[in-house]
């Protein structure tokens, strides 16, 4: 947990004026710039990549295996990110996230990033495999 013995404590050299320990939440605070939801906006281009790929491979995607991968990753990452945020391994900028948090974790992590990441990777892998197999067909 952050070593915040008072109200605030400065941290990394580079972010000396930006990152502060929060004794109430046992987390670090970082706020820089005007608010806009970068975490959501930066995912949008990937939705346009994954949709056509998913349409192409949806019949060969094993839904149960995909769901199990996502649920396992969600479960592990909830604990892992809670741990990492508490120790300042990385610190979210409050001006770039939606603002709501679950267990100290920005809500877009469990509701978007934890499932979209595995889904994107699995979709790309299956699309590439389909392309490889199609190329080999006489």
């Amino acid at each position: 947990m952050p070593e915040s013995d008072g109200e605030e404590k400065t941290t990394d050299k580079k972010d000396e004026e930006l990152v502060t320990g929060n004794s109430e939440t046992s987390q670090f605070d970082f706020r820089k710039g005007k608010w806009w939801p970068a975490t959501i906006i930066l995912v949008i281009p990937f939705v346009f990549i994954v949709l056509p790929l998913y349409r192409a491979i949806r019949h060969e995607m094993n839904g149960r295996a995909t769901l199990a991968t996502i649920l396992l990753f969600e479960a592990v990452m909830l604990f892992a990110e809670h741990f990492s945020l508490g120790r300042g391994h990385w610190v979210w900028n409050d001006s770039r996230i939606l603002g709501w948090r679950i267990w100290g974790i920005p809500i877009e992590e469990p509701l978007l990033y934890y499932w979209f990441g595995p889904f994107l990777v699995i979709t790309i892998m299956l699309a590439v495999r389909r392309a490889v197999r199609d190329r080999r067909k006489p």
């Binding site: 941290t11 990152v19 670090f28 820089k32 149960r64 990753f73 595995p118 990777v121 495999r129």
Partner: protein, 113 residues
């Protein structure tokens, strides 16, 4: 102790090597090739996206509790790439492991060799 580095070695990289050890021999050539191509695509993509997120100040790092191991690539701690480069193979291998446990009944071509 560099706990950021250690945590994701344990959570991502060790399972990747264990799963790969179990699954690799049974994978057909197309799946193996798709695995490596996807690793390459995702490594490039996540490498670039890391700098986009940093450039836009979406997150930062502190060392007030746990030190970083000290290697940085253009200012970004190597732990970030350890995280991203470990996540993609883990997703694929987990999927392939679950796919082997519960084969897709409508799938026409098998994953296995």
């Amino acid at each position: 102790m560099p706990l950021y580095f250690i945590t994701y070695i344990i959570l991502f990289w060790i399972p990747v090597f264990i799963l790969a050890g179990f699954l690799w021999k049974g994978m057909d050539e197309a799946t193996r090739k798709a695995f490596w191509i996807t690793v390459a695509i995702m490594s490039g993509l996540t490498f670039a996206m890391e700098y986009v997120y940093i450039w836009l100040d979406v997150w930062t790092f502190t060392q007030s509790v746990d030190p970083l191991i000290g290697i940085r690539i253009w200012g970004v701690p190597i732990e970030e790439f350890e995280f991203w480069f470990g996540a993609s193979p883990l997703f694929m291998l987990l999927y392939l492991a679950f796919d082997r446990c519960w084969p897709n009944s409508v799938k026409k071509e098998s994953t296995h060799a």
